[in-house]
Symmetry: C2
Subunit: 241 residues, 2 copies
């Protein structure tokens, strides 16, 4: 529900760019034009544009205009060798992601866990391991660790479906910030046992800390991906200074 005006403008411009109305390499209408078009202040327009800069859709050029640098997916094979992300592939092929719970327990955070996750030592946490299947193939091994105090009432049945739906819809907690680290690691015995690694001897590993709207970290997750179904996109803009 984008109720904020800058957010509506942001979404509208984004969709317009994606629709191809502003071609790659061309200039957007000037800020003054957009101000009259959207009937708002300059700050509001600039805020909407800032969002598109973050997304890697546009790049403002001082004194000149705002260049569109968004490229539709077909034109760039940034989907290297036809690789798509797990979600993309699942959505495109309309395949259900099947989840199997391997472990579900409540434990206090020991020293190793506290160090790895950032949770306080001794805090009670849910320790959950799940395997994600796509098209019948086991491709992702998730290890989720939730602060029990902030995510009460979790069950293996919920973990079988969607923990995030439960957290957001049932508990009404919002996920705001997520810090992630991507590494590539050797496949462990457990990886080989649970996943279909084919001839890979390593995996893409995404470790993440998740914070709620109160700024409290309530989750630490490690996702171990079979390489074929992993791809991560990012846009960086240089900071001055």
């Amino acid at each position: 529900m984008p109720k904020a005006k800058y957010d509506e403008i942001y979404t509208d411009l984004k969709q317009t760019i994606e629709a191809g109305s502003y071609a790659y390499g061309s200039l957007l209408p000037s800020e003054n034009t957009l101000i009259t078009r959207y009937d708002c202040s300059r700050n509001t327009i600039r805020r909407a544009l800032a969002g598109l800069v973050e997304d890697g859709y546009i790049q403002p050029i001082h004194g000149k205009g705002v260049r569109v640098i968004y490229q539709p997916a077909e034109r760039t094979s940034f989907t290297v060798g036809g690789i798509e992300s797990f979600q993309e592939s699942a959505q495109r092929n309309k395949l259900q992601i099947v989840t199997k719970v391997i472990q579900f327990s409540v434990i206090p955070a020991d020293e190793q866990l506290a160090k790895r996750s950032g949770f306080p030592l001794g805090e009670e946490v849910y320790y959950i391991q799940r395997v994600r299947f796509l098209d019948g193939k086991p491709l992702i091994l998730d290890t989720n660790i939730f602060l029990k105090a902030l995510v009460p009432g979790l069950t293996a049945e919920i973990a079988e479906r969607s923990i995030y739906t439960y957290i957001e819809k049932e508990l009404g907690m919002q996920i705001v910030t997520s810090k992630r680290t991507i590494t590539v690691e050797h496949a462990s015995a457990q990886d080989e046992q649970l996943l279909d690694l084919e001839d890979y001897n390593c995996l893409a590993v995404v470790s993440s800390q998740t914070f709620n709207s109160d700024g409290v970290m309530f989750e630490y997750t490690q996702s171990r991906h079979q390489p074929d179904y992993f791809s991560f996109h990012d846009t960086a803009t240089r900071k001055k200074g």
Copy 2:
């Protein structure tokens, strides 16, 4: 040279947080306090804070305050298993990164290259392959493709040192936006021949497009990393809508 006021405040707050003056989990001084402290307007403070939000340093809580969610490197082993990035490791150990040029040529972009890089078909480009050594070990295979029209005068000697220094200092061109994709791929025969992969049969691959201050893409690069020396950090904040 941070001449902008919001950037100075941003940098000052960042350093203050890194120094530990505002502890993880605590609240920052209120915006009004910061306004008087830095003698500036509310917009300027909010802009500085926005930068810290992007960096994953803070998270504002409506009606309550701004929570510090920055954790010093020691407290979280997000440097999983002691892994650091190539640059971090090189800097910390004060090791020189040695670069060896494998290939240096000028070619027109063929169809495959055009599709992979996003360059126009037929454009003349520099095609450069380099191996990066750290502590004597060959760990990264870089393939750089530069638009010849925008990066004139490139030589193998420059590639042996730093292409970016040449681009920024000599040509005076600024790198502004960088779009990256991270995947994990099987090691090719060339990877195995040129790099010290030990027993890994795959690598971390970073593909990136780089845009200058004119919003024109002038570089496409693929970096193939030996897994031990690859780690990528990222902070995401949920957008509304």
